[in-house]
Symmetry: C2
Subunit: 321 residues, 2 copies
Amino acid sequence: MVSIKDIAKQAGVSISTVSLALNGSPKVTDETSAKILAIADQLNYVPNAAARSLKTRESKIIGVYLTDFNGAFYGDLLQGVKEVLNRKEYDMVVCSGKQSHRLLPERMVDGAIILDETFSSEELLKYADLGHKIVVLDRELNHPNINQVLLDNKAGAALAVEHLIEQGHRKLYVVTGPKGSYDSKQRLKAARQTAARFDGVELMEIEGNFNKSDGEQAAERILREYTSPVAVFCLNDEMAIGLYNAVKHTDYVIGRDIHVIGFDNIELSEYTVPRLATIDYSKRKWGALASEQLLKVLAGEPVEHERVYVTLVKGDSAGKA
Amino acid sequence: MVSIKDIAKQAGVSISTVSLALNGSPKVTDETSAKILAIADQLNYVPNAAARSLKTRESKIIGVYLTDFNGAFYGDLLQGVKEVLNRKEYDMVVCSGKQSHRLLPERMVDGAIILDETFSSEELLKYADLGHKIVVLDRELNHPNINQVLLDNKAGAALAVEHLIEQGHRKLYVVTGPKGSYDSKQRLKAARQTAARFDGVELMEIEGNFNKSDGEQAAERILREYTSPVAVFCLNDEMAIGLYNAVKHTDYVIGRDIHVIGFDNIELSEYTVPRLATIDYSKRKWGALASEQLLKVLAGEPVEHERVYVTLVKGDSAGKA
DNA sequence: TTGTATGCGTTATCAT
DNA sequence: ATGATAACGCATACAA
């Protein structure tokens, strides 16, 4: 490995001069600077990140923690994070799984963006206490070193339920997400509240886990109980698509007998027939916002929690009653 | 930040004893060791990765480089990588974009797995020359520090074309991938060779870029030129699905007028109607193999290039002529 | 079994 | 404008 020491020797100067030159300091002559840079280039010099981090106490790397790498869902969000970070000379790495948690306390990353229920709040608070900076996208957590950028789930769920009711539906099902999911809990709560605001609206709950198969199972129950057209609010699109698949094998028709609305507006939803009604939000902006917040926290700027707004996407899957 | 120095002070021993104890050396009494561990725990001690890396010259982290984070495609592959690495006390980070390349030469990662055409072979060779260990999944590159784990594209493309021909088709289209894609080039070449082996088989090429929209555009041309049933080999499933979508809006029917076979067997393909015929391979195994190879290279073990085998998945999308 | 001393590659402070 | 030197936190060879 070639270090500044090697460059110094070759250039006949001291390592301090080399360091200054490499960092573009004006305190060194253009002449010597040019010479040093040339030699560095010729020797294929690359600074050692560990040494630099040890000294500067920062890595210029941000870690994004995900539950897994499945789902085209994350693509845009990560793109949003990366764009913002890269513009500020930071790099992004994505990781998953308990073992990677160490990157944060060991200071391999300067901060973390969390979208991973399996990363316990307890552990996050511990790291925050130790001074590490974190942005959470999937829970509420109040700590000076933690900022939260959350989806406006309540507004989204309200929009969804109101839309179904406006379409004339009175008999509603809601297919829930994982018990531990913040998004699911929020959406469910808002759905209940919204439904309760209307007279004669009946809301039945079916447990799900945000997977396609849960939508399929929900369909089974719904069809079993079928007496007249019903509306279903799947708390995410994935389950709505599972429901589509199950109904496809029957004589019932989505948008006529079974009316459906989802949440997330994932890419796949655009290709559904009939078009799945759903709740949309910019995943890219979500990621961008999260990283902006994290950079502010790292810079010591005071920041308020942020919220990502959502909109209703109408679709023939949720027709008139 | 609490360092071994703090622990040493508190425990009334020297830093070397602390270091030994923390690393579970048998050279230190169980008694003092226990005391030290207790204090370390109490002080919330976490080793500093930078300092450790600087000393040991390794980070125990492997970087996986992807073009982007879209496509559920990568999920299984990354899972395969992660499982193998975690078992060996390594961590995986996933990155994308030119800016992250630095992690390799700067020794922030001990090695890299490349699935990113935009990472130039020239640059990879440069790093390999500097002693960095690399496994490539998307090109042929011969260098002592580079190992390749490639898909058996040729076999896959041959299987696909042979299947269409066996079904009685003589008029074939092939929708290609990006010009720079190794997978695309290999598949196209094998498709041509296979078609050429049969008399009376006509193979027409349509340029694509592995995106859904390319499949849609290909469909337009195919339908424009339509005179009798044709078969189409889309060099990836994504484009095949685009083709499905375009045909859906017409009177033509997939599996009757337009026969289609894809490549990759992505998750979405399982949900297509009719079932898309395609070429399957274990993405998980691919990732596992890649990381195993990388670990071997890192350990200095001699390794041969590896190959991931593929199989044909029949589907009603490619019916009898 | 434990302590002392050195160095990893870099940045930064202080002289010169 | 440049150089000598210390320090970051850790591992380790060697001494005691």
